[in-house]
């Protein structure tokens, strides 16, 4: 059963009185919340995700609840709980959904060691994965969202999860975080894109989340093998051309994009070496989504022929 098969009343009741357990990529999570702004947004964005039974163990037990005291009633705030810990300062209650997304990200990059975790968007065509590492502002999420509506399967817009032994990429399709102008760019690029509520005045400016395509969530248990590693940078005076990148340089950049490369020690080195070995590596400065999508489509088509 999927979350979207529950009525909004059932979602509200479960979130407030008990919890909802979901399978999100390789992770099982539990979510509870007394935040009215959170219920409909969560229901909409996670509608395709499979529900889990109450006895399934979870990696992350997340709560989004009012703090005790006056902040429950006056200038309402929300606390993020992981189990019984509150790792962050409270947010304004209206931002419960983005707080959940950022907190869930934190759970992954702070606590996951069974994968080599890279800050990257990942898409795939015919089982071949395109990895787009990049810091916030590099344009990777915008490019990722656009590709997800042009025949590429979305694996993740935030984390590349590499199996340490095989290098296979495990999908983690979640809502794609869009910021500022990117929201309008993606709405214009894909009229069928389902974008959730817009949140203004967040720490990252205005944000909205693209609901992951249903087919991406349905394929969340199908890994893909690394094939292209491309470091994008958004730049107004870009030429939108892929420039080949030497593998040692790609290794250095990729290791800096990993959250747990150092913690994994020699296992991280071996895993990343195999990944770089498998990938054609490029960097690109871009300023035009349509051109980039065409360029990456051509790259994939050439690969199919060889």
């Amino acid at each position: 059963m999927r979350l979207g098969e529950l009525s909004s009343e059932e979602v509200r009741t479960r979130l407030t009185q008990h919890e909802i357990r979901l399978r999100v990529g390789p992770f099982s999570i539990s979510v509870a919340s007394d935040q009215p702004s959170f219920w409909p947004a969560f229901h909409f964005l996670y509608q395709d995700f499979p529900l889990l039974e109450d006895d399934v163990p979870v990696e992350f037990r997340i709560g989004l609840v009012y703090p005790p005291g006056i902040r429950r009633w006056f200038r309402r705030q929300v606390l993020f709980f992981l189990d019984d810990a509150t790792p962050f300062e409270p947010f304004t209650s209206a931002l419960a959904l983005p707080f959940f997304e950022w907190g869930f990200n934190w759970c992954i990059y702070e606590h996951v060691y069974e994968f080599l975790v890279m800050h990257a968007a990942v898409l795939a065509r015919d089982g071949k994965a395109l990895i787009l590492p990049g810091p916030p502002g590099s344009g990777k999420s915008t490019l990722c969202a656009a590709l997800a509506f042009r025949g590429w399967r979305l694996l993740s817009d935030e984390f590349a999860l590499f199996d340490i032994a095989s290098g296979a990429l495990f999908p983690l399709p979640r809502p794609v975080g869009l910021k500022e102008q990117s929201i309008g760019v993606i709405r214009a690029f894909a009229s069928d894109a389902d974008v959730g509520p817009t949140f203004t005045d967040t720490r990252k400016g205005t944000v909205a989340h693209l609901r992951p395509p249903s087919r991406a969530v349905a394929s969340a248990d199908e890994p893909a093998m690394p094939h292209w590693l491309i470091f994008p940078t958004y730049s107004r005076d870009a030429d939108n051309k892929l420039e080949p990148l030497a593998k040692a340089s790609a290794f250095a950049l990729a290791s800096e994009s990993c959250f747990n490369y150092r913690a994994l020690g020699v296992d991280g080195f071996s895993a990343l070496s195999r990944i770089i070995d498998r990938c054609a590596c490029f960097e690109v400065a871009f300023n035009d989504i349509d051109t980039m999508v065409r360029t990456l489509d051509q790259l994939a088509t050439r690969s199919e022929r060889t």
Partner: protein, 101 residues
């Protein structure tokens, strides 16, 4: 600047892991130091120098002669003049240590 007569070697406890890409003069190396957890990207000359010192102790002068022999045809021999600087950098990041004569 290092003493040109100083003998250097990669300490046994480091346990280096190697990965290389490219061919001939375009070869690049990435080396992982299991002792420190640091990763280093090296060009051809630097990689050959460190690999040599992993198996044998040598001075800058001895290294220069050995690496000249090991460089593939077409490689830029100007890089050999950088060996003293390379040794200084390797010493600073703990990849090599002086050996008593």
């Amino acid at each position: 600047m290092v003493n040109k007569h100083q003998i250097w070697r990669v300490p046994d406890y480091l346990q280096l892991r190697w990965q290389s890409w490219g061919e001939a003069e375009n070869t690049e190396f990435v080396v992982f130091n299991c002792y420190s957890g640091e990763t280093h990207c090296l060009n051809l000359t630097a990689g050959l120098v460190l690999q040599y010192l992993e198996t044998e102790a040598a001075s800058a002068a001895a290294l220069s002669a050995a690496i000249r022999q090991a460089l593939p045809a077409g490689a830029n021999e100007d890089a050999l003049r950088q060996i003293p600087d390379l040794l200084h950098e390797f010493d600073e990041v703990g990849l090599i240590a002086p050996v008593a004569p």
